[in-house]
């Protein structure tokens, strides 16, 4: 009899290891499989038991619950206060469209047999048959766009690299998932690492690269460990042939970040892979023409690459049939912050924010009203409840002044002071700016100081002008999105919640100073 206890970092953070150990004692005959997470994070650790009616879910389970659960018939899938019935029938999962995350939470992440049994490696087999140009064409037709935030069409990027005549090219996976409110890359690497590897091997075939790097942030030690093991297993399995010297035909390496948010920006990431300070570089040249070690380089987000095996195996059309307008396919959304049912929801583009927050998320965990949602990470704007009817897509969100980013939604309740959040946005930019360009390096410091003055009631009118001017400068003159987009949360907070900046101010600060 098989029992599944996730080894995903979020599950571990709630005691999954202790639960697994307790099950091993209470049910010595059970075969315990450490799967990825199903993404229903409020139920972690979520234990599943294999029965004749499918896998039955129990959660959140603590180590202390285990003996009682086993006694009450958990191993036979019997009902219990913590039982949610068959996992597949749970609304949260049933109402999703899981393409990229199809296997996450289901398979043993490090079992290549399990991976193959659930449709893995089929994309690579097809790619090997059709060759470089057709791989790139297929990705173009699928409408796949960069899931890291910029949303650039992946196929077009690949075409540029394929067209370069250099013999040495590189493919890099950006796993520097630094945006607060996002954890999909981490979950995928911990729950289905082979899909990222397969996507990279296919990408390598498509653009003509024989070397790949996965740049993983150091804050993700579990993902780093799983990916290292997965690469070893993949290389040993020899699915893709070897060079004459016995090395794998696609050489895959991991580079670990060192706590710099900016290294999620592609030019900065490439500098970091070269062992240098992660400073942003001026474009052009774009990396697809001259990137890592000055060779043509493609940088794609983890989710982008992990979507490629599905597209290869099932065809561009199967993927493009999902979504709406120019946002094709699915997006793994991440519900975070003050949310009752936080977790991962993969849905076709076009789902509304309201459906994500309320139907899936169940509103706030605290029970308070939602004040605002930050979409798209620290550089994304705040969305007020009046706009929750917006459809989630690159264009549909931009029209409403919001950003898709990496698909994270952070929920703030009505206790939040949005002036403080705007100040934090500037402070974060100050801490994480690479320092290369002045608008970002100095603008962030001045921005923080100016918001402090406004919130303290110091010459508010004048300082608001300064802040607006500063935001204009940062937006137009910064080298990359860090400085260029930091004004987005600041301005959206100021526009929608001016009372949080101005409200608490004493009427006349000059009087106070005189006292």
């Amino acid at each position: 009899m098989r029992v599944f206890v996730p080894c995903d970092a979020a599950a571990l953070s709630m005691g999954a290891d202790e639960v697994a150990a307790a099950i091993a004692i209470a049910a010595p005959n059970a075969e315990i499989i450490r799967n990825g997470s199903r993404g229903m994070l409020w139920l972690e650790p979520l234990v599943e038991v294999e029965t004749d009616k499918g896998r039955v879910a129990y959660g959140p389970v603590t180590a202390g619950d285990v003996a009682g659960l086993v006694k009450d018939g958990m191993l036979d899938g019997k009902d219990h206060d913590l039982c949610h019935g068959p996992t597949e029938d749970m609304d949260y999962l049933k109402n999703q469209e899981r393409l990229t995350f199809a296997r996450v939470g289901i398979i043993d992440p490090l079992s290549l047999d399990d991976y193959k049994a659930h449709g893995g490696v089929k994309g690579l087999e097809k790619a090997l048959k059709i060759g470089a140009q057709k791989i790139v064409d297929e990705v173009k037709e699928s409408g796949l766009r960069g899931r890291g935030g910029a949303g650039f069409p992946t196929g077009i990027k690949w075409q540029t690299a394929l067209a370069q005549e250099e013999t040495q090219k590189y493919l890099c996976a950006n796993a520097d998932e630094g945006d607060s409110g996002t954890f999909a890359d981490r979950m995928l690497m911990e729950g289905d690492p082979f899909s990222l590897i397969e996507g990279m091997v296919i990408g390598g075939l498509g653009i003509g690269a024989d070397t790949g790097y996965i740049y993983i942030r150091s804050e993700y030690p579990h993902a780093i460990r799983t990916m290292r093991k997965a690469i070893e297993i993949w290389d040993r399995a020899d699915l893709f042939g070897r060079n004459e010297d016995g090395s794998p035909r696609f050489d895959l390496q991991i580079r670990v970040g060192a706590g710099a948010y900016i290294c999620g920006e592609e030019s900065s990431m490439l500098e970091s892979i070269e062992g240098k300070r992660g400073e942003v570089k001026v474009k052009p040249p774009i990396p697809a023409i001259s990137g890592l070690f000055n060779k043509p380089t493609i940088v794609n987000n983890v989710l982008t690459l992990a979507s490629v095996p599905y597209i290869m195996a099932n065809g561009a059309k199967a993927y493009a049939d999902f979504g709406q307008g120019r946002s094709m396919g699915t997006q793994p959304f991440q519900l975070a912050g003050d949310i009752a049912r936080g977790g991962l929801v993969e849905k076709a583009f076009g789902v509304t924010m309201n459906e994500l927050l309320n139907d899936f998320g169940g509103g706030t965990r605290s029970g308070r009203a939602i004040k605002a949602v930050q979409a798209g990470g620290p550089l994304g704007g705040f969305v007020a409840p009046a706009d929750f009817d917006m459809a989630m897509g690159y264009e549909s969100m931009a029209e409403r002044g919001a950003m898709m980013g990496h698909g994270g939604l952070v929920v703030f309740n009505d206790q939040t002071n949005m002036g403080s959040m705007a100040r934090y946005a500037m402070e974060f930019c100050e801490i994480e700016s690479c320092g290369k360009c002045t608008p970002c390096r100095i603008g962030a410091v001045r921005g923080k100081e100016t918001i402090d003055k406004i919130m303290a009631g110091e010459e508010q009118g004048k300082n608001l002008e300064v802040l607006e001017d500063l935001c204009d400068l940062m937006e137009t003159a910064s080298l990359c999105a860090m400085g260029g987009l930091t004004p987005m949360p600041v301005r959206s907070a100021l526009k929608q919640f001016p009372e949080d900046f101005l409200g608490t101010a004493p009427e006349d600060s000059s009087k106070q100073a005189a006292e």
Partner: protein
């Protein structure tokens, strides 16, 4: 002169560089490993790395000071990383930090001998905040009571 050379040699760092083929592009990997071995990056280690990888000490200094992870001084016995990014702030990270500062009698990011509180920006546990990490172990939904227990448990492992 031989004695002078000996004083700058860090055998462990030399070995780590060698394992990475003395390739300068693997500098960050090397720094991670040396720091994991010694707990921090000593001057001797940095000199040895500069020599092994054939890059200037100035360049290494630039890299070490750019990244938040790298420390040039010995750290505290225990470092508690508390996430203060948006998703954790939305569920009380700032309150947790204030309580932790009072309980452990130290300020965020201040130098400490016994227990250091370190700000971190996203541990990827955003649905289960406030998130905390100690010795690469991740914890979710941490309040001050849980933080005290976790901190004690980690002390036991030393």
């Amino acid at each position: 002169m031989a004695t002078l050379l000996n004083t700058i040699e860090d055998a462990k760092a030399r070995d780590i560089c060698k394992a990475h083929g003395d390739k300068p592009d693997e500098l960050i990997e090397v720094l991670h490993e040396v720091q994991a071995a010694h707990g921090y990056l000593s001057d001797a280690a940095l000199r040895t790395i500069a020599q092994s990888l054939n890059i200037s000490r100035a360049e290494i200094h630039g890299v070490v000071t750019f990244y938040h992870d790298f420390k040039k001084e010995k750290g505290a016995k225990q470092t508690i990383k508390i996430c203060r990014a948006e998703a954790c702030q939305a569920v009380g990270a700032n309150e947790l930090i204030a309580e932790a500062e009072t309980h452990f009698k130290t300020k965020m990011d201040d130098k400490a001998v016994a227990i250091k509180l370190e700000a971190t920006y996203c541990l990827g546990n955003c649905a289960l905040g406030p998130a905390v990490m100690i010795d690469d172990q991740l914890y979710g939904r941490v309040d001050i009571a849980r933080l005290k227990t976790i901190s004690n448990n980690h002390k036991g492992e030393d």
